[in-house]
């Protein structure tokens, strides 16, 4: 037995720790300080993340709010002196636009602008100002025999001047017009009802919005039934074998595949093999449906799994067939979870851009689509296209479109949360 090794008895008789000793106090202080520091790091992480979100939303809101407004300038115009060769019948027919255009209305409005605002007047009104005169005449054909004042959109330069940026002469001009009541700033309804354009004062989101709606319609019609049905199969019917494992592995992997890969699939399969029309909401919807189907399957499976077996057993016990058990009892009870998953998947599809770029939905399209096979664009792609534009006026239009997109997403996610809280049963 070695003398150097202390015996158990000796160790037990060790002097008790003196917690009041200076060394121990220092040690404790250090540990508490490190505890506070760690806690502060955690708080900082949460605050930084939240602050980034707040900054993002604030930037978008601040630069986008102006995109909903438009400066309009009062244009005095003597339509009587124009003596446009159009008949009232023509104005009531479907060809009214064409008749007014070929009667030289655009030139006449240009003359009126120069007469009202001087030789540089063309720089003050938007390029499409004459279409506002045209629409006013279409609404009220009696204007053709009168001298009237029509409010038309101001040009980008005057618009910037009215906001207080741009060159000084334009700012002064804007201030003068404003003082005389000839320049007013109001809500830009044309931004909600218009379509894409090369002139930032004339653009609108309706084309993108309608394209998004068509695309989402196709996505919903495909992804919802397929997703729910395959969730039912996997939860209620599938035998435990290699095929079922393969299906499950495929679904889990598809949920993690980058979205752009679905764009490549859409390009190779739908466009180059099946020859479906390019840029069409039909193809976009199919591509996005494949992308969000795994989300719906996974959410629906969880919802179906959460329905207690007692319900299944009770229904089977009173003689219901398997299909009756599923469609009369399990599916209605699982529906809130299924719908929540579907809405979340649809929200993801609504914000998706990359796969749609690859299937050609990035073309410059002026007309809103009327059918599922018309060339169209969607709201996020429209945002992407506008963000590429050089003209300054597009910055606030882009941010305004982002605000609309975020509002839609917020509404969808809010609906999902409401459904979950209102209808979800805890068994």
């Amino acid at each position: 037995m070695s003398e150097a090794r202390p015996s158990i008895a000796e160790a037990g008789e060790r002097a008790p720790t003196d917690w009041r000793a200076a060394a121990m106090q220092r040690r404790l202080r250090r540990r508490y300080a490190s505890e506070r520091r760690f806690r502060l790091w955690g708080l900082a992480a949460v605050v930084i993340s939240a602050a980034f979100l707040a900054f993002l939303l604030f930037t978008m809101a601040a630069s986008g709010i102006g995109g909903f407004l438009r400066s309009e300038i009062a244009l005095p115009i003597d339509l009587k002196s124009a003596a446009l060769p159009v008949t009232p019948e023509q104005l009531r027919s479907r060809g009214a636009d064409f008749a007014l255009a070929s009667a030289g209305l655009e030139n006449f409005v240009g003359v009126a602008v120069v007469r009202a605002f001087g030789p540089e007047g063309g720089d003050l009104v938007a390029d499409n100002a004459w279409t506002f005169v045209r629409d006013a005449v279409k609404r009220d054909p009696s204007l053709l025999g009168q001298r009237v004042t029509i409010w038309v959109p101001a040009s980008s330069a005057l618009e910037a001047g009215a906001r207080g940026d741009g060159p000084a002469p334009m700012r002064a001009l804007a201030a003068r017009f404003k003082a005389s009541g000839m320049l007013a700033r109001g809500f830009d309804w044309a931004f909600l009802t218009g379509t894409d354009s090369t002139d930032p004062t004339a653009v609108g989101i309706w084309g993108g919005l309608k394209g998004s709606m068509f695309t989402m319609l196709v996505t919903l019609l495909i992804a919802f039934p397929v997703g729910v049905l395959s969730a039912i199969y996997l939860e209620e019917y599938a035998p435990r074998n290699r095929w079922t494992d393969l299906i499950e592995v495929s679904i889990n992997n598809l949920a993690a595949v980058p979205s752009i890969i679905f764009g490549l699939l859409g390009l190779a399969l739908f466009l180059n093999t099946l020859h479906l029309p390019r840029s069409a909401p039909l193809v976009g919807g199919l591509t996005l449906a494949l992308m969000i189907m795994p989300v719906i399957v996974i959410a629906s499976r969880n919802a179906i799994k959460a329905v207690p077996p007692s319900i299944r057993d009770a229904a089977l016990g009173v003689g219901a067939s398997k299909v009756q058990v599923i469609f009369h009892h399990i599916l209605p009870l699982a529906l809130p979870g299924v719908l929540t998953g579907t809405i979340i998947g649809m929200a993801r599809a609504l914000g998706e851009t990359a796969p749609l770029l690859l299937i050609g939905m990035r073309a410059f399209i002026v007309a809103a689509p009327d059918t599922l096979t018309d060339p169209a664009t969607v709201l996020p792609v429209q945002i992407f296209l506008w963000s590429d534009e050089v003209s300054r006026g597009f910055v606030e239009k882009t941010s305004a479109a982002i605000i609309v997109l975020l509002l839609f997403l917020l509404a969808m996610n809010g609906l999902a949360i409401y459904l979950r809280n209102r209808f979800e049963t805890r068994w």
Binding site: S259, I260, L357
Partner: protein
Amino acid sequence: MSPFALLLMLAGLGLIAWLTSRARAAMFKRQGGRRMHSLPSQHGTFVAIWTILPALLFLILWATLSPSLVDQQVLQAPAAAQLPPFGFERASILAEARRLAAGSEYGAFNPLADTLAPAMRAAQLKYGWIGGGLTLLLALTCGGIAYLRIRPQFQARSHVESTVFVALLLASLIAIVTTVGIFASLLWESGRFFAVASPIDFLFGTHWSPQVIDPVRPGKSLGAVPLFWGTFFIGAVIAMVVAIPLGLMSAIYLTQYADPRVRTWMKPILEILAGVPTVVYGYFAALTVGPAIRQIAVALGDPFASSESALAAGLVMGVMIIPFVSSMADDAIAAVPTAMRDGSLAMGATTAETIRRVLLPAALPGVVAGVLLAASRAIGETMIVVMAASGAPNISLNPFEGATTVTKQIVDLLTGEAEFDSPKTLAAFALGLTLFCVTLLLNVVALHVVKRYREAYE
């Protein structure tokens, strides 16, 4: 007849079939007085399925066949003799005639299209009526036969339920078909790319210039290493440097320190970060973050700094994936048995010491899996890099310099005006295949780590 009207008519026929057959089955029940095998509504569904399904399948077949039939008839027209024999021009004239016939376009760009339009319209009308008539005939025949099969002993329920089963099975097979479709299309197009460019050049070449492709050896100007580096640097380095500390620390703070009321509010707010569309992040990165970082770089003494720096894209991407890291870390920490945490606290460790020395080591596999999943999402992310990263294929460690990524190059290659079969567009599919394999690998590894880890504690 327009397809939409046909679908509506089919739906109406199905409804009528359902109502009449249900009434017929109910009549059998009243008259016969004996027990029927199936409920009247099941008989109704059986007949409705037979009315709609075959006609619908025929309609789909017809919709794919009839355009070529229409084209054939139009080509019989005398004016069609002036058409160029084949190629792009011929297709575009036919497409224009189709649009004129549909009434979606008024003025003809090509006079030939204008002369062909009436023939086109006549042919469309003819085949539209033939298709519509055949569809309705099929619906009525099949529905009628099914209607006549209704008997008290007829097992309508079994038929309906086996149809439902087949529908369920087909729906679940779509996932496999999609996976196979992705893999096959990527592999096929990449195969065509590697037939003209050597895989060695592509995977290990360091020179990327798709604008000027070496005609003799296309692979020489399509070396993807700068892209792989840019993707790794932006997605797996810069984004992770932002996302791991922020995500992990917010998960720790919200689960271990925060008041439950704060937690119920803060968690959904942070989840919003994952729900913001990527195009919005991209715009934010390009408009606000990029120029700000450029100014910082200029202040640090780099007067030629680009506003499309790797740092701007990576930073914003990192913020985007904070919720992924934090929710995976949250789950992993929650899965550590409470006894371990309580034991450590009872021994006198502070909360921070418990987290650092007990919870995190135990939760490490789950956290690692979360980081891998987040990294796979970051390297597959497209819009942020398309909008905020530069197209310059640099291999550089300087975060203020521009870098380009695989996803950005895929978009750039495929949205140009090049014809589809050029090495340039096919290279996009080879890049896609690489991306697909890497993200798949990351996910498989992550799932494997999670599985192993669960076994350790349950």
